[in-house]
Amino acid sequence: MMREEIKKKIRDIVGPENALDSNLERFTYSYDASFIPLLPANEPDLVVRPLTTEEVSKLMVIAYEHEIPVTPRGIASGRTGGSIPLKGGISLSLDRMTKILELDEKNMMVTAEAGVRTFDLYNYCAAKGLFYPPDPASWKFSTIGGNVAENAGGMRAVKYGVTSNYVMGLEVVLADGTVLQTGGKAIKNVTGYDLVSLFTGSEGTLGIITKALLKLIPMPKKRGTLQIMFRTLDDGCMTIHKMLQSNIVPATAEIMDKTCLDAVARHRKMDLAPAIGASIVIEIDGEDDKALEAQAKQIEAVAKECGSIEFRIAQSQQESDELWAIRRGLSAAVAGLAPNRLGEDISVPRDALPEVVRRIRSVAEKYKLTIAVYGHAGDGNLHPSVLCDLSNHEEAERVHQAVEEIFKAALAVGGTLSGEHGIGITKRPYITLALGEAGVKTLKAVKQALDPKGILNPGKIW
């Protein structure tokens, strides 16, 4: 428990209404969107909601002095337990830091505080014809700080890359309260270690990200959505390879297997032709309608060659929104199929996608489990979701073995544990499997150098 005098010092910094310690408030900052059980709750001793970098810095001075664990948090929409205050201490919620500080149109860069919602930043830039591409499924509510700390991906990665491809600079409050400014607007920059890349994806274990300088690109003028149905997942994957090899790069290429399609059909009360075993939803973008039409024609030809059975072009914005709403709501729709859902986030070389899906199928058979598979086929990032009832102990045991085998399957084909959700708590047991002893040792050495007292988001990654 945190001493009252320390709480008082913190209240003096952020104001009493922004340092909460009632049982109820502490409980509601104990979870995120991962499958870590709600109870027993991992409650912080104090929830702190600072408004400025200066407040964060002063708070870290106190935390450092008294060795209080600090777990930074945006909106707690992460899927791996990254923002769960596992060791108590302070839940540092950056959701009040919501200022967009500068939009530099000439350099095409934007500076925003950590608590700005990604969707708000996107719209802010879009109003000036500029495009911030990373679009994790959570972008309407997740924050820039969280996106950078987790190096969030998204559907547009196949053409536009992930968050780290856009982070040019960061403001980070270090464990002892020092405020570090790193990176900048110069495109070429090899002065010293690349700290921007180090902090991006560090999951709150190396410092508190308070501001980010992000690169923008011109907004594509036209967008279109296609939906293609296949008999098998392999046909769908083959279509994507052939497209990319022929230099047709869609903005997104999302794949769903039959279990997912059934979940959506049930959720939306619609019927699917029985022959359909997989679906790809593709977003294309370009200069004008003609460019879009040409791309759609090329894709249709490739898909046909690969055995597609249905090809649909969204005829209106509404139809297109509808298709993407299905994809964005998929995670939750699949979760609704069973009492528990363990959603994973493996990432494999793109050509290994059909192979890893086959391996996941045999894992499902071996452990008698339903595993729904969907993901970003364009970049090899898959979300196998194990549908189960964890209150059944015998089943829970099978689930854990199955998850371990899914990870092993990903590693066996040259892939890795996590594409975009991070390691957090849920994938911690498998980190050595993925990185090897030397890899984990190196991570620990970095951590030791930047957070010698181990107060920043303790209990995560390894």
Binding site: N23, A76, S331
Partner: protein, 408 residues
């Protein structure tokens, strides 16, 4: 009849909220989270609180009751939730559970409930404030009665344009079969605070059919929302009986209409009342729903710009979005406002319980209304009208709020 036990209430809520994935989709949608920013104020927070309460992770303390009470029941979260978690229903169940445990609702809610239950009291109150003051309810009615100038007569005088001025209202050309038995449900809010709008509803209805007049009792929504479930059921039974001979029950209050349409679901396990309740709920229609169905033509065409605020209990409670807009477009110019379906934070007694948060939310609504340049903001709910009246006052008279029956 089947009596819902405390445990069942909590288990019902648990079954509902345990499907919450905690993904966060509801966070930017919840007007209270927007205004307050802490997790307890969000739909996700309240779902997890309900679940922890049911699973023994939280004790039923007063701050838990305060947290579940801090919900507008506006269903914005339900609509956007990928798992369709019914947070509003869970909150109603948990409120009832906590209140039963505590031995009854607070004196204030009991007073409101008792007051609305009594038909006589509601009638006496119509046109007077003294009883409301005695009950400490005068803050519900910020300006006493709704100002005289917001009546239909004034609306016509100010906006109808020369052609319509002073003319007799033309009869509507709607053909309704002589046999359709249409009845009006007069809600307490309409009766007490907007008697003139209520009179207009009746006039409009009379142009479409021979209207049966009933001496109905309260719909029971306030009772249900605040842990007086037994009173809600008793009122529901009275109304079911009263409207047995009607084929259509028209309601000009979104909340009453929503409550009446949902009565059936509360009698599912009551063999004696199940069928009657289902039959009753089926025949309830919102005024605009009914009017569009019978092909009603507004009594005049005016050169006025309208905008429309969606009451939660209409847009999400009953799925009625298009009908009021169609009627307004047929009456004058129509401009859609930003976030028209965001709750105005009236929410029954919410605006009395949490005046600061409520004003924050209505302030945003005011800006959105002003953004349209409309002279009149129309809605279909007395609770919303009170909030919009506050917004109009704050705008310095840039627009006026009116019930839809006063303009069409």
């Amino acid at each position: 009849m089947h009596k819902t036990t405390d445990n069942e209430l909590l288990q019902d809520a648990k079954k509902n909220v345990s499907q919450c994935d905690r993904c966060g989709t509801c966070l930017p949608i919840c007007p209270l989270f927007e205004a307050k920013g802490v997790e307890t104020s969000s739909a996700r927070g309240k779902n997890t609180i309900a679940r922890a309460l049911a699973e023994g992770g939280l004790e039923p303390t007063p701050d838990v009751l305060a947290a579940v009470n801090f919900c507008l029941l506006c269903r914005a979260c339900v609509e956007t939730c990928p798992s369709k978690i019914k947070t509003d229903e869970a909150m109603i169940n948990v409120r009832q559970y906590l209140i039963n445990r505590a031995g009854g609702p607070s004196v204030k809610y009991k007073a409101i409930g008792g007051f609305l239950k009594s038909r006589g009291m509601v009638k006496i109150a119509a046109g007077t404030l003294s009883i409301l003051r005695k009950l400490g309810l005068n803050s519900v009615f910020p300006d006493g009665m709704v100002p005289e100038e917001y009546t239909r007569a004034h609306f016509l005088a100010a906006f109808a344009g020369p052609a319509a001025l002073g003319q007799k209202v033309l009869p509507s050309d709607v053909a309704v079969t002589a046999t359709t038995k249409v009845a009006y449900f007069k809600g307490c809010g309409m009766r007490m605070m907007f008697p003139k709008a209520s009179a207009e509803t009746l006039k409009i209805l009379k142009t479409t059919a021979r209207v049966m007049l009933k001496n109905n009792v309260c719909c029971g929504m306030p009772h249900l929302a605040h842990g007086l479930r037994d009173e809600f059921l008793a009122l529901a039974k009275k109304n079911i009986r009263l409207y047995e001979d009607a084929e259509v029950v028209v309601c000009d209050c979104a909340s009453c209409g929503g409550a009446l349409k949902h009565i059936a679901s509360y009698f599912n396990e009551d063999p004696e009342w199940k069928d009657q309740a289902a039959a009753f709920s089926r025949k309830v229609m919102d005024l605009t729903e009914y009017l569009v169905k019978v092909g009603y033509t507004p009594r005049q065409k005016v050169d006025t710009t309208f905008t429309y605020h969606d009451p939660c209990h209409l847009v999400r409670g009953q799925g009625i979005k298009k009908q009021p807009r169609d009627l307004l477009k047929a009456t004058g110019k129509f401009v859609e406002m930003k976030e028209a379906d965001t709750c105005c934070a009236g929410a029954g007694t919410f605006h009395m319980d949490y005046p600061d948060i409520s004003s924050k939310i209505i302030e945003k609504k005011r800006q959105n209304i002003e953004g349209t340049g409309a002279a009149i903001v129309v809605t279909g709910c007395p609770g919303c009208l009170i909030q919009l009246t506050k917004a109009a006052k704050a705008s310095g008279g840039k627009f006026k709020p009116m019930h839809i029956s006063q303009v069409i």
